[in-house]
């Protein structure tokens, strides 16, 4: 299978599924779900194949494929992956699969739902495997827009407001990116959008310092950077289960990935110049997110703000600009993706039955629905950074890097993690333990089919928790190549 364009197949697979979904009549709901699930399963296999084929000791970008697209304008359809991209494609495929399975009970406007969701997935895959700025941005926008209908139609509580707010925030970020990315093109004088070619060009220092914040903030909005994060918790809360999973699990990672792939890679001088500022903001993310989460009474708001806090860890790691920091940041993107998907998947299960997310109205859920509760509790443990889960290593690395680079911020960030343990334990105490609320005595336990997606995610967290080398072997060589630019 050596010569097969695996990465193109990775994009084609969901595209074919989209075509099928569009053709199928809207009444054949099961067929649509099966198409989506099968294509998701195949993308997981393809992502595994990519991982298998990727040689960690090889060159930085592998499995490359270049087709000139618009030679006159320096645009080519250039795909390729480095270590972090391999990891993120795997994550996206997993979240696609588990998200599809989590929405198995959907009955309302199934065809449109899956059409939009698969479009989003195509966009996300595209961003992770593109090595051309035009296509990177193309897929980036393609991934963002389906969020609007997905939240506005299938969401809950204040959904239209949340959907519009999210879209406008993210598009404002895109406005900055438009300018920033095109500036890269003109300023290099190379007349190419190719990331690899641009990576060999040393941009003017003053240019880097001027453009870096534009690209960083443009992507940072999607990564939930403080103070432009407010779209994210409202969006999480309003979105339906699988959309929350995709949104917090992979979509927010696109922002961090963009910073990693474009901003830091192409503008190292700019990154150095702005590292202090953005590290402080990232720390605010961590601490602020945790404090706000402490006060929430809605399950999804708790997770939404904890996402803000955890994405702060990713951003802090990126701004530390050391091997530990970058490795931790990329690992955290992956770990947090799997963990948040598990969070939203378990909350979705509870919400679908009770139509209630008010933590105060629950109690002793662990007695009523032990297995479903276990999934939430495991996600929470992982979020707190308990050893044995993937997040532990990721957070540890970032904090080690942070304490070395910015001792004061590092201490604050670790304090933020302590607070996050506090709010998670508070949720456990109120909702899952203590006296059961008789109102929910007849809750149905999760079925084997329903438990499958959550179990997959738990396995991922545990495998990478007990054997972090799996991920770090992938990430390490890429980040050390990147650090040579500094």
């Amino acid at each position: 299978m050596g010569d097969l364009p695996v990465l193109s197949l990775l994009l084609l697979m969901p595209t074919a599924a989209l075509g099928l979904i569009v053709i199928l009549p809207r009444t054949s709901k099961l067929a649509i779900k099966v198409v989506s699930a099968v294509s998701a399963l195949l993308t997981v296999l393809l992502a595994a194949e990519v991982w298998w084929l990727y040689d960690v000791d090889g060159p930085q970008y592998q499995l490359q494929q270049i087709v000139p697209w618009l030679a006159d304008f320096g645009i080519s359809y250039h795909l390729g992956v480095d270590g972090p991209a391999v990891l993120m494609t795997l994550l996206n495929a997993l979240v696609f699969l588990t998200g599809t399975l989590s929405m198995w009970t959907l009955q309302e406007r199934v065809k449109e739902y899956f059409a939009f969701m698969v479009t989003l997935v195509i966009g996300v895959f595209g961003v992770f495997v593109s090595l051309d700025i035009f296509f990177f941005f193309f897929f980036y926008e393609l991934a963002v827009l389906p969020m609007y209908p997905l939240i506005a139609v299938w969401g809950s509580s204040n959904k239209e407001y949340a959907a519009m707010k999210l879209t406008l925030f993210l598009m404002a970020g895109s406005a900055l990116l438009f300018v920033g990315l095109l500036a890269l093109y003109w300023s290099s004088g190379l007349r190419t959008f190719d990331l690899v070619a641009l990576g060999q060009h040393a941009f003017d220092r003053s240019f880097q310092v001027a453009i870096y914040p534009m690209i960083y903030v443009g992507f940072g909005i999607l990564a939930g950077m403080f103070p432009l994060h407010s779209w994210s918790p409202t969006g999480h809360v309003a979105a339906p289960t699988a959309v929350s999973m995709l949104h917090a699990g992979v979509l927010m990672k696109l922002g961090a990935f963009g910073i990693f792939r474009i901003a830091i890679t192409l503008l190292p001088e700019g990154a150095k110049a702005w590292a202090d500022t953005f590290a402080i903001l990232a720390t605010v993310n961590i601490v602020y997110g945790a404090f706000v989460a402490l006060r929430q009474t809605d399950f999804k708001f708790v997770i939404g703000f904890s996402s803000v806090s955890h994405m702060g860890i990713v951003l802090l790691g990126l701004n530390v600009l050391s091997a530990d920091g970058l490795n931790g940041a990329v690992f955290q993107m992956f770990a947090h993706g799997a963990m948040t998907a598990l969070f939203f998947s378990s909350v979705g299960f509870i919400y679908d039955q009770t139509h209630c997310r008010d933590i105060g109205r629950f109690g002793g859920l662990a007695k009523q629905i032990p297995i479903a509760s276990a999934f939430f509790i495991i996600a929470g443990l992982s979020g707190m950074g308990v050893p044995g889960f993937a997040s532990f290593w990721a957070e540890l690395l970032v904090f080690v890097g942070a304490v070395r680079g910015y001792p004061l911020l590092g201490v604050f960030a670790i304090a933020g993690l302590v607070i996050s343990a506090l709010f998670m334990l508070r949720v456990y105490l109120r909702a899952f333990f203590g006296p059961p609320n008789p109102e929910w005595n007849q809750l149905k336990e999760v079925s084997a089919w329903g438990a499958l997606p959550r179990a997959i995610l738990v396995c991922v967290l545990l495998i990478f928790g007990f054997y972090p080398r799996l991920a770090l072997r992938l990430i390490g060589p890429t980040t050390s190549l990147l650090l040579r630019r500094f």
């Binding site: 827009l145 506005a152 438009f178 300018v179």
Partner: protein, 480 residues
Amino acid sequence: MPQLPMTDLTLFLPEIALLSGALCCFIASVADRSYASVWALGTLSAIAALVCSCLTLTFQGEPFAPGIYRIDLFSQFLKLGISGGLWLVQMLSRDDSSLRRFGRLELPFFLLLSGVGMMILVSATELLTLYVGLELAAYGLYISVALRRSLAIAGEAAAKYLLFGAASSAITLYGISLIYGASGTTYLASVVVDGSSLLLLTGFLLMLAGFLFKLALFPFHFWAPDLYQAAPHPVAAFVATVSKIAAVGLLARALSLIGATDAPIGEVFAVLSVASMTLGNLAALRQTDLKRLIGYSAVAQAGYVFLGFEALSTRGVAAALFYALSYGVMSHLAFVVVCAVGRSDKDPSLSDLVGLHRRAPLTAFFLLVAMFSLAGIPPTAGFFGKWLLFAAALERGQYALVLIAAINSTVALYYYLQVVRAAYVTPLPADVERPAEPAVGSQLALKTAGWISSAAMLAIGIYPAPLFELAQRAAAVVLR
């Protein structure tokens, strides 16, 4: 494919196709008085013109008299757009309700004649010929805008259009006279606007007035929202598509006159561009009438197109040409929905779109593609078009300008999403009994038009290379 010989006659083929079609329509509308035959004649002649434009795409020459009328890749590229747009608009008008009672028999004649005028416009290389084309293109429209008599404000809109049109073409004529006075010639080939003569520069800027009027750029946009709202649907569609393409061609031709000069022409264009997009977008935010909303958005879109002209470069003009053609297709698609929803001669408002995804999934899909394309979302042509325009403006280092434009397109996204929201999100109130209109589904012509436009939109968006290269070559030809 056998190559046509390049003679004076074959060079003129697209124009001949439209002109003879127009005359046949006229005769049929007097003699036969059956709408079906007049419509069929009009459509046939638009298709014939489209085919002729394709066949003569690579031709070049100056038929009849040198220096007055030029056939080259640039002119034929635009004629392709004009005749294609004309055909698509004809498809819209087949079953249109806004014209049912009055004047629909004459409409194909007026539209074709106006199309001929636009073809002359994009080929003319002499100022008076150009002016004749401008007037010929306008007269047909002045009349057909007024054809919708069931609406009270139709008369007002038609009067506004006529008065603004007359005033701006008077300014253009004055500008032409100044150019003649300064340079002693009306042949564009010998006019170069450089820093040497203030008179020439003034004349040039005044001449642009009539062109900007056609593009509905600030401050010549006042007629646009009224016209979009009150004109018969197909006529508004014609103004929104074909007319725009011709106007962009005209401006590109005008731009070719600019030589080396310190005069701040680019800066003037930049100001007009920003004013136009900001004003259009802000006004569109408040609209509830779908056509009026499209009208204001057209003012904003004209501002985007101007980003390309502001750059005063081949790349910029190519971007503008590319965007003009894609914009023609996307706004046509929006009008497919207008025609489908506004069946009962009522102007479709946003609340008429509610529940469209249930009542008419296909129409709703067309609307989605049209709005996303107008908003510049991939994988539609609008995304690539904006990318080109912004890139062209940035080439001159206009960071602030592009940032303003990009923020503007975020603002615009709000109202485009409002339209999508109405069609897809807002639930149909249970107590309100809505007629389950078949919308696009039952009308073959409309449905075909919608499919063609949306397929073109996605095809151009995913693989823009052929159209872009054509636009690039056309721009290189016109800019000497």
